[in-house]
């Protein structure tokens, strides 16, 4: 880990990754269905107060949860399983920011923590288990906090 790598130019990062190219973070409800098809997984929808969780589970044990607010936009995602999920699909239009931030963080192989103005990503990996979550702070519905993203 190099501490001087933390000083990112956030403005430069925002210019890239404008608009969702795929489903996932920042995408709409139909993108969740596209993710389900891509993952070849079973979909389970749970409604909570103020947001809905779309859970996709694959036969090999990866679980992905996509969180949509009242407007139907995916404001957060969470995952766990024996491998990392497909981040390109899961992070949608935020994928390029993720790549840049992950390179700049040069964190440890076990824990990744990215905190940008409008993108938070946490990932954890050890031996045969991967788990993490990501959200866009500006898209969080009212009364929904990071603790709800599980």
């Amino acid at each position: 880990m190099k501490l001087n790598g933390i000083s990112l130019s956030c403005a430069a990062l925002v210019l890239l990754g404008t608009g969702p190219a795929f489903g996932g973070l920042g995408g709409a409800l139909d993108s969740v269905q596209a993710d389900q098809a891509h993952m070849k997984g079973a979909l389970r929808v749970t409604s909570n107060s103020g947001f809905t969780v779309h859970g996709i589970s694959t036969a090999y044990g990866t679980s992905v949860r996509e969180y949509t607010g009242p407007g139907g936009t995916v404001f957060a995602v969470a995952w766990d399983g024996p491998v990392n999920p497909d981040f390109e699909h899961l992070f949608g239009g935020y994928y390029t920011q993720y790549l840049q931030a992950a390179a700049a963080a040069h964190g440890s192989h076990r824990h990744l923590s990215i905190q940008l103005a409008d993108l938070v990503i946490q990932n954890n990996a050890r031996m045969r288990t991967f788990a993490g979550r990501a959200w866009v702070p500006s898209l969080l519905p009212q009364n929904v906090s990071a603790d709800d993203i599980r």
Binding site: M1, K2, L3, I6, S7, A59, Y60, G61, S63, R65, A78, W79, D80, P82, V83, N84, D86, F87, E88, L99, A102, A103, A105, H106, G107, S108, H109, R110, H111, L112, S113, I114, Q115, Q122, N123, N124, A125, R126, M127, R128, T129, F130, A131, G132, R133, I149, R150
Partner: protein, 416 residues
Amino acid sequence: MRKSLILAGLPLLLLSACGGGGSSDIGPTPPPPGQIIATPGPPNVEPVVVDAGPAQAFNTGFVSVTICVPGSATCQTIDHIEVDTGSTGLRILHASAGGQLSLNLPPAMAPGGMALAECLQFADGSSFGPIEVADIQFSTSGKSATNVAVQVIGAPNYTVPADCPPRLENTVADFGANGILGVGPFIQDCGLACQNSNPPLPGWYYTCSTPTTCAAATATTAQQLQNPVTLFDSDNNGVIVELPSPPAGGTASLTGGALVFGIGTESNNGLGSAVVLAIDDTTGFVQATFNGTAGLNAALDSGSNANFFTDSSIQQCTAAVGFYCPPSLNLTSTLQSAGGGASAAADFSVANLESLFNANPSAAAMPNVAGPLNIPAGTANPIQFDLGMPFFFGRNIFTAIENAPTPGGTGPYFAY
């Protein structure tokens, strides 16, 4: 630090009486022995150094490994291979990836004639490369094994498959070392999931009809990367990582550490008074009690560069995202065997990581660093209490391999 307190208060006479022996004399109980680090040499001890290595690592312990074309004396000794009790298997960065390995090693082949390759996934990216076969030797201890499957990361001419997810860490600069020696509690790196999954797990093992056309494939436990320690003729039931304590302000190079092969097999690797904590063989965890919460999934992991746990009352760093920056704290926890039983205290301190590095920018071994553990609560079997290198400093930490017999019981277990 505990070690310096013991040495300061202990008369020399008592020091020589410490370190084992099962005498049943009636008399005053001697104080617990200070840490005794095994001397590097045959038959089973390699030196470990904690320094920046080739890519500005911190809190990473390194050994050297000699790699040879099988059955020959054509060898290379590669330094700064990370010692990792949280992974399994030997992996080396190829010279074309900024590493040192340039031998022409034979590829490991799947039945049917296709070469095997692997995607090694991390929290912050992946490393890809073919599996090749080598004879390996550890030059100080003399330990060796033949025809070992080794992942060669960044080997030339290989196209990284799309389902080996970026960010790619296929150079020494991105990977953080010249290689990694996974000596954790599992025998193989993937286990039954890679053998049995149908369709094959994406992002683990691959077969390659050509280097540019690798596709996800199953790999039997025999084909997977093995814990190299299990391949030794002797001293093959586990390892002990023995690191001295760095000064409180950290140091650029912490020498005098050791990687000891075997548990209870030689005069230098007995458990002594170490408490055995059984590891759950499915999850890889022991249990921890911390801040009044019991049953936290816990691990002792030399591949983790800090202690990671959840405590929302501890101030987080603003520049060094992912670490704690409080005024100095002393914390306590208890570790317990999976399934109940033996327990041991696990006390540690947390210092302000940013202050430490500002005061000592060249430090590569830094004690008392910690960070938040952000795991989604809905995760099945997440790690919840991760004791990394700061916990290893000043302690001898045993990792026993699954199914391996030891005087302290059958692995897997941690002990300290």
